[in-house]
Amino acid sequence: MSKDDIRVQDIAKKTPQLYQVDPKQLVPLPYPYEDWEDPAIEPLSEKKLAGRNVGLDGVMNVSIPEPQTEAEKEEMVAKFLVGLRKLLSKDNNWTFLKPLMLSLDNCVKCNTCAEACPIYEMSGKAEIYRPLFRSDVLRRIVNKYVKPGGKLTAKFTGADIDLNWETISRMAHLAYRCNLCRRCAQTCPMGVDNGLLAREIRKLFSQELGISPQELHGDGTIKQLETGSSTGLTPPALMDLMEFAEEDLNDRTGLNIKIPFDKAGADILLIHNAGEFLSWPENLEAFAILFEIAGLSWTLSSEMVGYDSVNYGLFYDDAQYARVTLAHANVAKKLGVKKVVVGECGHAHKAIMAIGDRIWMGESNIPRESCMATMEDLIINEKVMVDPERNNFPVTTHDPCNITRSMGIIEPQRRVLRKICPQFREMTPHGVHNYCCGGGSGFAIMQSHNFPNWKFQLPGRKKFAQMLGAFTREELAPEKNKYVCAPCSNCKGQIRDLINYYDAWERCHMQYGGLVELIVNCMTDVREGFIEWDEFH
């Protein structure tokens, strides 16, 4: 069907696929990408599909086995309804029942949310990606199949919907066509949170039907609890890599710094996303340099889970979320630290600090702080000396949704950037109005099937357009290095992949990295050239 014609009730249609993204209908990019042509999102072959459902838009980032018989389909629908009733009951959904009910009941269909959603906008306004489309499917199902007398009312109100296998399988896909960036929730005059609704749908599918993306579950929270990290990094491997990191730090700076581990009673337990250990060692090395030169009492943990701040449960499953955050709290409690500082990882901020408040209770109620605030204190109060001239190149910053919109941490990182980067400039819009990198809610780590093109062409496109817009035409020339600060491991992964997809190193010499690297790059106690400019960053 065409992007404009699909209606909410069409979700139940017994057609193989409801919609196909057409790259020609995507919103064009600004200078110097007016001529940019995106490849089509390749349909998956029968062999690749291997009996799995892609009935929404032909794109797969969550694996949904297609039931073989009508009876199996009915069984899945019945399970879905059981799960839905649980979502709507206090005993089974004490975590999010209230905002769920408010969001289900209060929508006035003004569609203000649609204008705020980068996926809907960049798709060329394809109906299925409108935030209200997904929410209305859920709302209609609740009204018709859960509320008393709903089946009768549905016929009169015109808000009818059929609940069948097509409906629920497409709903599961729809829940994974949202970055959970909650820009829509921020703009809603009624306080409706479509992001929360998408996340509750994900939760229902994970907790009741065992359907969730491999990257988040099997290779995510399960692996983290079993090996210590979603990356599979075990404590012995961590120690080996950290020995190398100390050598590497010495090669880069000439400094001899011992990275502290498991120091009981330290003031600060710093928790990084384990992605830093494997993909961005400069980030964890920069934190070590900054904290050591500032003379802080700090430590990392080598306990299982204690060295990986990741908690993908936040994106899809309350039980998995709770298991991981409990493990984090126990590590902090055992070490007896005065506070936990969360490194440059957005969703870990929300998992450990905001949502964590419900789990880190009693003796585990250890103060938790954003590294943005820690860095602000060190720079603004001049606990380390800096020479901003070393950062005299164009710099803009991306705002990780979970740090900014979800938690309101806006100014600490900006006060640092304004002080240490003479050519700092904002993206438009920014702060709580920022756009997601397009990798939010786990999309950044979903690299299989035909999903990467979808994430680069729709949500990632909005961020890439913003990145281009932050620089003048002259600055965009490839002769000039420019830096996109992205203080979050997930966002960094996505921005790295966007730069690669859009060939933005070759075309514009656009580089990305964290905030602490910019600090260390201009610290007078560190020799010049900490940031390396190259294609293979």
Partner: protein
């Protein structure tokens, strides 16, 4: 689960062509997997990289950070891409029979 077949080699791989059972890796499998990366013949330099990754994985159950790989093999990253065009993680690790990288990497 997809099966990858090349010559006498027949192994189970994941969606992205990484071995499902990394324990069963051998040199014949490496040669077969290399063809999926556009590498028809594994040179001494290819083997140096593959063996380094393999040894590290056997010891620690994971691939090392790329910077460590470059330093300890003496190959700059550019060279790694020349040897395995899809890069160290997607190319070299696959040929060395490692599992697909997971987490925020």
């Amino acid at each position: 689960m997809p099966t990858f077949t090349h010559g006498d080699v027949s192994i189970e791989v994941d969606e992205d062509g990484f071995m499902e059972d990394p324990e069963s890796w051998n040199e014949e499998i490496a040669k077969a997997l290399a063809t999926t990366e556009g590498v028809e013949e594994l040179s001494e330099e290819h083997w140096k990289l593959v063996n380094y990754l393999r040894d590290y994985w056997l010891k620690f159950g994971i691939a090392p950070m790329i910077r460590k790989l470059c330093k300890e093999t003496g190959f700059p990253l550019k060279k790694v891409y020349e040897l395995f065009p899809s890069g160290p993680a997607k190319g070299a690790c696959k040929v060395a029979g490692l599992s697909k990288p997971t987490g925020c990497v």
